[in-house]
């Protein structure tokens, strides 16, 4: 049973270093050959201080969480059943481009927990997992919002 009292609960704060080597690896793993992610000289010629972070790179947050299993732990704490849960959607907000060399601070929390009737009977629960990434000036740089959907037990 999903614990709706978890809505809004903080799941921790951690650092997210934006690293050049990891950016290159991630770009390769998404077939992205844009030199803006691989070549610092190219990025500088374009007016940026260092290579740019790929748009969905915040997805690598799992490497920097307080514990390796923080997402699974959160789902357990929420009372979600992995066998009935799927990843529904992800939203990336980029307030400004982010560069290799930055160290961001991530505040992770549970967002809204909502329910609606499923088309085949039973209920579907929508659980939001939020991450806000702040820079060294404490300004919001990025946000990542994931929605997990659990189909109700029949």
């Amino acid at each position: 049973m999903i614990d709706k009292n978890m809505a809004g609960k903080s799941l921790g704060v951690f650092e997210f270093p934006v690293e050049r080597g990891k950016i290159k690896e991630f770009a390769q793993a998404t077939g992205n050959t844009n030199p803006m992610h691989r070549n610092p000289d190219h990025a500088r010629e374009a007016g940026f201080g260092n290579v740019l972070m790929p748009l969905t790179f915040p997805g690598t947050f799992t490497f920097h969480m307080p514990s390796e299993d923080a997402v699974m732990d959160a789902m357990n704490d929420l009372g979600m059943d992995p066998a009935r849960s799927v990843h529904g959607e992800t939203e990336f907000i980029q307030h400004r481009p982010v560069f290799a060399g930055e160290i961001l601070t991530v505040k992770m929390s549970v967002g809204d927990i909502t329910e609606k009737a499923g088309t085949r009977g039973g209920t579907m629960a929508f659980v939001e997992l939020l991450m806000r990434f702040f820079d060294s000036n404490n300004e919001p740089a990025l946000e990542m919002r994931n929605v997990f959907i659990e189909r109700g037990a029949f």
């Binding site: 990891k22 690896e25 991630f26 390769q28 793993a29 998404t30 077939g31 992205n32 844009n34 803006m36 992610h37 374009a46 007016g47 940026f48 740019l52 972070m53 790929p54 748009l55 969905t56 997805g59 690598t60 947050f61 799992t62 490497f63 066998a83 799927v86 990843h87 529904g88 959607e89 992800t90 939203e91 990336f92 907000i93 980029q94 307030h95 481009p97």
Partner: protein
């Protein structure tokens, strides 16, 4: 603009965004697992996936989201993307051939904000991932 040279005035609703194909393999999945940090065995452990009743492992949604993002970043420049929201509408299996693409939706001309719709379809014409994106393009006469 420094990166792609695309200005707000140059785009119109209905314009096609870049399109490309990917034949998905287990190697793509493994590379993305390592790069992205998703070690859920359902994506790389065949025995585990089959024990759950699945025909095989399947790709993680964020892998499709990563590939699809190139449609908007190759076109507008990653530095100009403000928002990218994806919905995972279908499962991606090894062997699937995905076609990625999209089009310009609308412009809020006075602010340079362009909204786009993106998606990837598989070889059966089914949409496996659907997305909306907002970019802020520079204006030529700003």
């Amino acid at each position: 603009m420094k990166n792609t040279g695309l200005y707000c005035e140059d785009v119109s609703p209905g314009d096609a965004l870049p399109t490309f194909e990917l034949k998905v393999t287990r190697t793509h999945i493994v590379k993305f697992a390592g790069a992205g940090g998703d070690f859920n065995p359902i994506h790389h452990d065949e025995e585990y996936a089959k024990a759950l009743g699945l025909p095989s492992v399947f790709a993680m949604g964020l892998m499709s989201a990563g590939y699809l993002s190139r449609v908007i970043t190759d076109w507008a420049g990653v530095e100009n993307v403000k928002r990218y929201k994806v919905r995972y509408s279908g499962i991606v299996w090894p062997g699937d051939i995905l076609t990625f693409g999209g089009q310009v939706g609308g412009k809020a001309g006075d602010r340079g904000i362009v909204s786009c719709e993106l998606h990837a379809s598989n070889q059966n014409g089914e949409k496996v991932i659907e997305a909306e994106a907002e970019v802020l393009l520079p204006r030529r006469n700003a």
